[in-house]
């Protein structure tokens, strides 16, 4: 779709969030509501990070604080190794908000041209070809000259993704990008996310659709009532939360393989030790995976889950 973005600091995280806090006051009762309780995480270049949490967990508030659409009470945000959200950093970021409403008096082409112009990162001579390319990529070539007011919800979501990508960002933030899309549309968005990540763009997206997050994300950031309850690799979480382990072994080399299921890591170690002590060999040890959805539900009822888990 585009050439790999050149990052000045390709090894340092594209985003570091340290102790982010945000509270709101109820306008009537003046009661303070803590929306974010000091969350910290980071996003590495070229990775896909899922941002999960139940409704009201603070996902959209976090995203708004990251983009200074709402101002955090405390905490630090570092983009591309530099403190704060400068215009230089903004030029490298693409953003799709939740429930996007766009300028419906513009055609798809005009809309993308407007965002490309405002980002200042697309040269005038390549603007038209870039727009054509993106419209094609999001499956809207046929609708580029139609006003957005005639677009369906799914089409608006697609043009929204296109505007987030028009200036070849190094980091994109997508707030519920799959919402309102049919299965084909979701598949298409998943493919686009994979594609941009393969080109070196870091993707941070919030979603309620856990199967999508499970298949797509290498990393997860999970919030619960404004607190970070997990930050780390998806597979580490899946293994950590696996309900059991399967140990396949042979009593003697080349013999018949037998499988044994054990409840946890300690029991698995004991089992392996026993097999080895009796002269057997281990063929395979694998966690009996549960789905991210099951883990998410379990975590929703559990206390804090190793927030220090690192990728």
């Amino acid at each position: 779709m585009s050439s790999k973005p050149t990052s000045a600091s390709s090894s340092s995280p594209v985003l570091e969030v340290v102790g982010l806090r945000k509270s709101y006051r109820n306008p009537l009762t003046r009661k303070k509501l803590e929306a974010l309780k000091g969350i910290s995480f980071e996003i590495e270049p070229g990775t896909i990070t899922g941002f999960l949490g139940a409704n009201g967990a603070g996902k959209t508030t976090t995203i708004k604080c990251l983009l200074e659409l709402a101002f955090a009470d405390a905490g630090e945000v570092v983009y591309f190794g530099k403190k704060g959200l400068s215009n230089e950093a903004k030029a490298k970021i693409g953003f799709l908000p939740e429930r996007p409403y766009f300028y419906d008096y513009l055609t798809g082409r005009e809309f993308l041209k407007f965002y490309a112009s405002i980002s200042g990162r697309v040269a005038r001579h390549e603007l038209s070809s870039r727009i054509t390319q993106l419209l094609e990529r999001v499956g809207l070539s046929h609708a580029g000259d139609r006003p957005l007011r005639g677009y369906s919800k799914g089409m608006l979501q697609r043009i929204g993704i296109a505007q987030a990508l028009i200036h070849r960002p190094e980091f994109i933030i997508l707030d519920e990008p799959m919402t309102g899309l049919d299965p084909d549309g979701r598949h298409e968005v998943r493919e686009i996310i994979r594609e941009v990540a393969n080109q070196g763009t870091a993707v941070f997206f919030s979603s309620h659709l856990l199967p999508d997050a499970e298949t797509l994300c290498e990393h997860l950031v999970i919030l619960k009532k404004g607190e970070l309850i997990y930050h780390g690799r998806t597979d580490a979480l899946m293994n950590q939360m696996a309900s059991s382990w399967r140990v396949v072994h042979q009593a003697r080399p080349g013999g018949v393989s037998e499988a044994q299921t054990v409840a946890d890591i300690a029991e698995m170690q004991t089992c392996i030790d026993k097999i080895r002590a009796s002269g057997g060999s281990i063929v395979e040890v694998s966690p009996q995976r549960v789905s991210l959805e099951e883990i998410f539900v379990k975590m929703a009822f559990d206390k804090k889950q190793s927030p220090e888990a690192q990728p």
Partner: protein, 255 residues
């Protein structure tokens, strides 16, 4: 500056493509036609009556556009959340406000000029003698509308659109009364009225300073110093109001 112009261009396109604008233009053209008809009611003043009423029509149309479109210019972006994708781009909130106001100010200029051209065609038909102050009168309408737009933006930065319209119209009415207020302050014996009235004269723009609509009708000359002072006053009010709007808007959370 480029970002301001891109936003101004988009705002211009937004208002130009809005059906409300065309409704307003049709209303203004109907007023201009009415000015022709009204002129026929008088035996010897028919041209002046038509010109007078025609200028009033342009004034009403441009003021209504500034107040009503200006009052929703920013709130619409917030309500529809289009502001989120915009402010996530490399532009500041000040640039956003400047771009929005510049875009609508340009529309006000285009509408005022367009309506003035239509009125001039009517007046030409009636045999009106044009003076350069025909343009000065239209320019005055635009200067006033620019101040009202800045007021609408300022009120819109903390009030809902309905209240923004109410506040702006209140200032519009007071603004056209400031000259009379000066007179009443001189005549009044109440200290309270003198202090309160004087405060209002400082807090409210004198909108009659931009009223040159009688000049082309009655062939009155306008001293150039008066025009320069009015341009200065309009620019000053616009800059102060935009600065206050930016100040309020700068730390606003979009939740």
């Amino acid at each position: 500056m480029r970002s301001v112009l891109v936003i101004a261009g988009n705002t211009f396109r937004e208002v130009i493509r809005d059906r409300i604008l065309y409704g307003l233009i049709v209303f203004a053209i109907m007023l201009l036609f009415l000015s022709l008809a009204l002129g026929q009611l008088s035996f010897d003043e028919n041209i002046r009556l038509s010109a007078n009423f025609g200028f009033t029509g342009i004034h009403i149309a441009v003021v209504v556009l500034a107040v009503f479109v200006g009052s929703t210019l920013v709130s619409k972006e917030i309500d529809k959340q289009t502001i989120l994708t915009l402010l996530a781009r490399p532009i500041s909130r000040a640039q956003f406000i400047l771009g929005k106001s510049l875009g609508l100010t340009a529309v006000l200029a285009v509408v005022a000029t367009g309506l003035a051209l239509i009125l001039s065609a009517f007046l030409l038909f009636l045999g009106f003698k044009f003076t350069p102050h025909y343009l000065t009168a239209v320019f005055g309408v635009w200067l006033e509308a620019a101040v009202l737009l800045a007021l609408a933006l300022f009120f819109g930065s903390f009030a809902r659109p309905m209240m923004t319209v109410v506040y702006t119209i209140a200032v519009f009415l007071l603004g056209h009364w400031v000259e009379s207020l000066h007179f009443f302050i001189k005549k009044s014996e109440s200290d309270f009225f003198k202090i309160g009235g004087t405060a209002i004269t400082y807090l409210v723009p004198d909108l009659e300073a931009f009223n040159w609509r009688s000049a082309p009708v009655y062939a009155i000359d306008i001293p150039s110093g008066q025009i320069v002072a009015a341009v200065g006053a309009s620019t000053g009010w616009v800059l102060i109001l935009i600065a206050l709007t930016v100040l309020i808007f700068r730390r606003r959370d979009f939740v």
